[in-house]
Amino acid sequence: MTPTTPHSLAIAAKGLRKAYGDKTVLDCIDLAVPTGTVYSLLGPNGAGKTTVVKILSTLITADAGDLRVGGHDLAADPQAVRAAIGVTGQFSAVDWLITGEENMLLMADLHQLSRSEGRRTAAELLERFDLVEAAANPVSTYSGGMRRRLDLAMTLVGKPRIIFLDEPTTGLDPRSRRNMWGIIRELVSGGVTVFLTTQYLEEADELADRIAVLSDGKIAAEGSADELKRLIPGGHVRLRFADPAAYQSAAVALREVTRDDEALSLQILSDGSQRELRSILDWLDSAGIEADELTVHIPDLDDVFFALTGGTNLPNQPAANQPAANQPRKAAR
């Protein structure tokens, strides 16, 4: 296991810039990923996530920036960086024309494992990724989920200490996505550092220790999921009424609320703390208001994401699909 200290950074980037012609894709980005953690780069399509991965994984060169991966300088010694990393990109990096097992042996061969060691590693990984039955079939017959698993299995042949996953679950069905999350957690528990890009907020929330929101080539915010959620005042208590008359009188009595006449519901700003909830309840009691349903809405990453990436600002949007306080579950460590 690799010890996690503030001084051991698996990935450190300062002033990373990249432009294509006069279009700036990445504008002075700083990143610091401690060893053994999951770092998620979150952003809408076209924000520059993939460009960051391509640069940090030595695929393309940056225009400027002091970049270190695995302790090696990207510009000076890309080959040492390559020896430390594994990359699973957005597009399946597998050989479609040969079988799953042949793909694994190809990787073993390129990593210069001996024949017996290569066979053993391939067999172990195929087993671990539930690909034993399909091992002798051409990859062209694999499902999307199987291809992703094979892709990641191939990445692991070289036992990389730092793994880049560029949208690893895009296009997967929910079950395959959960599977992939389990695999990622397992990797991290083995001491591997994971740099993950995703457009799924839930995924970042589930897996990442730290999240950076990338928008328009800049880091709009950075922190743990909870820190990010605290950045925006999205919390509120929602009161729903069945009777239009009760709704009307409550709306008149409470005044400082956001009304949603369609849904017969009122929203009161609140950070969701016990103290505030009690004062709201006291207030409702003293005003003689009896709501049919009371729910507490804590801002989730969706709110943060939309607020930070210039989408519609959502804090007061009716939280129709947020029936209860939605506390993020942390990734299993």
């Binding site: 390559r82 020896a83 990359v87 990096a93 040969i98 061969d109 051409p138």
Partner: protein, 263 residues
């Protein structure tokens, strides 16, 4: 592990991958082989009577024409088979797998070397098949010495290497495999305007310099001389200059494109 043994080991792995593809999917190589074989049969059995009248100052018969055309067909086989290299390089460059190779600590040239060596081996195997058909329809080369055979083999290998590097460059420069196939078409069309089927001096005067000095004609004339004892003249060194030049050009072109930042 030293840099050289890394290069050898990685290139060898890439070569085996290439040959595995060829073994799994032989249809492309076989399709490309059809063209020279069809040309051979077409020119000998369909056009043969007219064609044989055009060589050796008249009075030649079909077996003379078979002897004349086979060296040209062997060279044409090279031009046709290397199209496969252009296509498979382009296929690789359009797959996610190339990004994986680029982010691994490999010898950088290994992928292209694997393609080139694999393609040359496939060309040589194709030569054997085409040669077998030629012998079956009556081609004989009884006068050639062992040394001449070796030289002929060396020339075929050298010409294969040169055209393969050009084809690999074409594959690198193409946005997709279809475009690569189109771009490589001249490699199979050039033999038609060489001395492969008719002597260059029977062509229109203004066209003769083009036919005589394009890469195929000197190579074909040299091969003819080695196998059948015809006059080689200065063709042998022009052929070698072409081979070396095309190899250098294709190598610079392909590796230059490969070393650029991918999109």
């Amino acid at each position: 592990m030293s840099a050289l043994s890394l290069a050898v080991r990685n290139s060898n792995t890439m070569l085996r991958r290439n040959l595995l593809h060829a073994r799994r999917y032989p249809s492309m190589t076989l399709n490309l082989l059809l063209t020279p074989i069809m040309m051979l049969l077409l020119f000998v059995y369909i056009f043969g009577d007219v064609m044989s009248a055009g060589i050796g100052g008249g009075g030649a018969d079909r077996s003379d024409y078979i002897a004349y055309v086979v060296p040209g067909i062997l060279m044409m086989t090279i031009g046709s088979t290397v199209i496969g290299a252009a296509i498979s390089v382009s296929m690789d460059m359009n797959e996610g797998l190339i990004a994986r190779f680029r982010t691994m600590a490999l010898y950088r040239g290994s992928l292209l070397i694997g393609h080139v060596v694999g393609s040359v081996l496939q060309v040589l195997a194709s030569q054997l098949l085409v040669g077998a058909v030629a012998v079956a329809i009556g081609f004989r080369s009884t006068d050639a010495t062992v040394l001449e055979w070796l030289a002929a083999f060396g020339l075929l290998a050298l010409f294969s290497l040169a055209l393969t590097w050009i084809a690999v460059g074409m594959g690198m420069a193409s946005p997709n495999p279809e475009a690569a196939s189109n771009m490589a078409m001249p490699l199979i069309l050039l033999p038609l305007i060489s001395s492969a089927f008719i002597p260059a001096d029977t062509m229109p005067g203004w066209f003769q310099p083009i036919a005589e000095y394009q890469p195929f004609t000197p190579a074909i004339e040299t091969l003819r001389g080695l196998l059948l004892g015809t006059e080689i003249g200065n063709n042998w060194w022009i052929a070698i200059v072409w081979c070396v030049g095309l190899t250098a050009l294709g190598y610079r072109w392909a590796t230059g494109l490969f070393n650029r930042d991918p999109k």
